[in-house]
Symmetry: C2
């Protein structure tokens, strides 16, 4: 969050500087009006694309709602299991990668199904993605 504020502040300052600079450059007769307008247009065009890309990244994709996870009472281990499930692994495979027994995974999955109000792991995946607690 601090980083975002910093980047935006720097951006605004840079744009204001550009603004002033272009005005000076034009008034002092170094540049024609076409070039000044062209440069301004290109710069703001690129800035628009950049800002939009950043905001979309946070909104749509990789943003995970940690509050929601807490609200639902999903523990760390349970969440780890949920992630593995969403990648299409079986209970046995998850047990092996997390160095646990299959029984443990079954317990975690069962708890997850209750907490996500689902009857099947596929349904749990769907719900989790809709609730933005899993990357879409």
């Amino acid at each position: 969050m601090k980083k975002t504020v910093f980047v935006f502040s720097a951006l605004i300052i840079a744009l204001l500087l550009l603004f002033k600079l272009s005005r000076y450059a034009y008034l002092s007769g170094d540049l024609s009006i076409e070039i000044v307008i062209g440069v301004i247009a290109i710069v703001f065009f690129v800035v628009g694309i950049y800002i939009n890309k950043k905001s979309l990244q946070k909104e749509k994709n990789h943003f995970i709602d940690h509050k929601k996870i807490e609200e639902l009472g999903i523990s760390k281990r349970e969440y780890e299991v949920l992630v593995q499930i969403s990648k299409g692994f079986s209970n046995k495979e998850i047990a092996d990668t997390l160095f646990l027994s299959e029984s443990t995974i079954k317990t975690h999955v069962s708890n997850l199904l209750v907490k996500l109000d689902s009857k099947r792991r596929t349904q749990a995946i769907e719900k989790a993605k809709n609730l933005q607690i899993l990357p879409i």
Copy 2:
């Protein structure tokens, strides 16, 4: 595709007009350099955001790769079943909504698993989303 070309052509023409207009407005003394530059900056900023949003929509989201579906030899019915699976329904539930027997669904699912090179339905969902044959 035709629509895209049209929109872009109109956009470019509008921007060129704006460009010329701003130059004329300034030279004729109606507007100050600050206002001209400001308007140009805002317009190009908005255009940048708009174009970026459009391109990202097509790239990342709701675009379904029908070619890929055909390549994999997935039939219409099979694809319908795949969609239902990805929504978290059981074979029985899918059978009921499509007015088929559970046996038929099992056959379709089995074929899907072969065609998507998967061992489980959850894995099939993952692969299908990566291949962009299911909405992400």
